[in-house]
Amino acid sequence: MNVTGTLITIAAVLVAALAIAGLNIWLERRLLGLWQDRYGPNRVGPFGLLQVLADMIKIFTKEDWIPPFADKPVFVIAPGIIVVTTLIAFAVIPYAPGVVVSGLDIGVLFFLAMSSLGVYSVVLAGWASDSKYALIGGLRAVAQMLGYEVYLGLSIMGVVMLAGSFNLRLIVEAQRNLWFCIPQFLGLVIFFIAGVAEAHRLPFDLPEAESELVAGYHSEYSGMKFALFFFGEYLGITLISAMIATLFFGGWLGPWLPPLAWFALKTFFFICFFILLRASLPRPRYDQLMAWGWKIMLPLALANILVTGAVIVTRG
């Protein structure tokens, strides 16, 4: 692909990712409203779509307060990290044949690396805030993400083995006959649960558990920096949804509609599923979360790899 084409793709992906993350806020509020028998924001603009804009204007004009006891440079850098790393991870996702920022051969590893780097944002925010709630939130985030990171990676290995490549484009191509959600159903479930924990979304939002930790790692944040955390979270949801669509549901593959539309539809479906999770499930206790991760999910992910490998070997 030539340079201008790549630049156009980068700009399009950037704008689309940011716009979708913004719209996610509106979508989440409307869907939560729908599932709780109310309306959600429906006043500003058609269907309340401009609510996001109004919120942005509001949050830009809010006082951006840095507590005097905070570690200033780290405090300022932390919220940027999660947005940057998540946005970078969007680079390897193939949206349609030929529409990809970087067709890295190690696309899956790149995604895992970038989403792991996101934990720095949370832990640095917790540390720099110099407040007990933020610190506890940050520590929880580290332990949770370490635990869930392990089998987030392991759960994809079945897919990688079946496709025989770390390149996301080849993984999608390999699903032309059968989406990996069927042979790798266990991997899908594990990846999804790990993805929820990775994006620290409800029900695994222990790092920010507002009923016990005020707001967790971003307790001390306000104004635009708080908005960045918020934004990073929604970018994370979009990223994980796009990855689920790519790895297990055949990415852009599908009949009748153009490839990009299929990709967008599948991603949209999983974003909605994330929101349904939030609407319906309670938050587990922290030790339950950790025990679940290490004692059940990790062995399951390993068993999944073993069985997949055995099947591939016996088939030759």
Partner: protein
């Protein structure tokens, strides 16, 4: 795990339920007649003020939002010279209505009292007085009370016998 999936399904089914929200400015909510909203001062059926400025409402008010000053007209009827309710303090408890011996002060099913300035929330007597009898049509305090005012001596009220002359021996 099964219960989680079940609760997710049940929550999803709520997408097809009727929404509980009342879209307020377009759809007015149904307000029961005993709703405790904006306070008014009513008049008796003859058009006179019911309030006799007894101060009981001001005493009963837990937040001291009622201020008034008693006066008396040439017929011997008491009335408030001024009557002021500070609605920025009022908690709409309805104690004033319960305390009122003449059914003058009443709470109405009106809640749309938003103002841009606090000072506009202080209602004077002319803001509070309405032209009708409110919840109690036909009730006139001076017609049922034993109090003598000019034009109505003792014993002339409804359901009232003339007073007994205790100094007379006649039956």
């Amino acid at each position: 795990m099964w219960s989680h999936l079940r609760s997710m399904w049940l929550v999803f089914l709520h997408a097809f339920r009727k929404r509980e929200t009342v879209l307020y400015p377009e759809v007015k909510p149904a307000i029961p007649p005993r709703w405790r909203g904006r306070i008014i001062l009513s008049r008796d059926p003859d058009g006179g003020e019911r309030c006799v400025a007894c101060y009981l409402c001001a005493v009963a008010c837990p937040v001291d939002c009622i201020a008034l000053q008693a006066a008396e007209d040439e017929y011997g009827r008491r009335y408030p010279a001024f009557f002021r309710i500070n609605f920025s303090r009022c908690i709409f408890c309805g104690f004033c209505e319960e305390a009122c011996p003449t059914c003058a002060i009443q709470l109405t099913p009106d809640f749309e009292m938003g103002e841009y300035h606090r000072a506009s929330l202080v209602y004077e007597k002319e803001d509070l007085l309405i032209s009708g009898p409110g919840k109690y049509p036909g009730y006139n305090f001076y017609r049922v009370a034993g109090l003598a005012i000019s034009g109505k001596a003792k014993g002339e009220a409804e359901n009232e016998a003339p007073p007994v002359d205790v100094k007379s021996l006649l039956p």
